[in-house]
């Protein structure tokens, strides 16, 4: 299954990239994807309160991940 993962703000500093296309197998939920990404980028474990958006909408960790999804990892927002 192919998905796009985007990283923002401090999470970009950790992964060293703005986005990447991942070919993943055996991952069906956001929580599983997060675990996979934390193994790929161990420094992500130190980031507190990562928020996830799927196709530009906030989702909970139990949300499903599907082919061609755009998954974004966001730190807590701080605009204004």
């Amino acid at each position: 299954m192919k998905i796009v993962v985007k990283y923002f703000a401090g999470l970009r500093d950790i992964t060293g990239k703005e986005s990447e296309i991942l070919e993943i197998q055996g991952i069906t939920r956001v929580s599983e994807l997060l675990s996979y990404l934390m193994r790929r980028y161990p420094e992500l474990k130190k980031a507190s309160d990562i928020i996830v958006a799927r196709n530009r909408a906030f989702v909970e960790e139990e949300a499903e991940v599907s082919e061609n999804d755009e998954i974004a990892l966001l730190p807590p927002v701080s605009g204004g």
Partner: protein, 134 residues
């Protein structure tokens, strides 16, 4: 009328005020500006970044909800993205309503919600070259 935008540019408040709806008796304006000191430390620059596609969606949701909740005649929201110096404007909220309470309340509601749900982040730079995501 609801207008939301995100970008580097400043906006012209004069132009917006010139388009005051006929039914409005109040126009409240909130402008967020870069604070030059944060927790005792000098801030030299504040850099804003965003997840543009989603930020526009979330900003519009807030504006639509605020316009309905406070029965506004018009609402303009503009968030700037880029690097800014202390004193520079970073976010503008302009609310038109028949009466002042709704206009004031709407401005407060919109800025509070922006801080909670719009994917925008700021990085604080200090004169010694250090920087920190806020």
């Amino acid at each position: 009328m609801i207008h939301v935008s995100i970008g580097k540019r400043k906006i012209s408040l004069e132009k917006i005020i010139a388009k005051s709806p006929e039914t409005s008796g109040a126009c409240a304006i909130f402008i967020g500006v870069v604070r030059g000191r944060e927790k005792g430390k000098t801030v030299s620059t504040l850099e804003y970044t965003d997840y543009r596609e989603m930020a526009l969606v979330e900003l519009r949701k807030i504006a639509v909800h605020a316009a309905e909740k406070y029965a506004l005649d018009a609402l303009y929201v503009h968030h700037r993205i880029g690097k800014f110096k202390p004193g520079e404007p970073t976010v503008y909220i302009v609310a038109f309503a028949p009466h002042r309470d709704a206009a004031f309340d709407a401005c407060k509601y919109v800025i509070e919600m922006i801080k909670k749900t719009v994917p925008i982040w700021k990085k604080e730079y200090r004169p010694d070259g250090s920087a920190e995501w806020k």
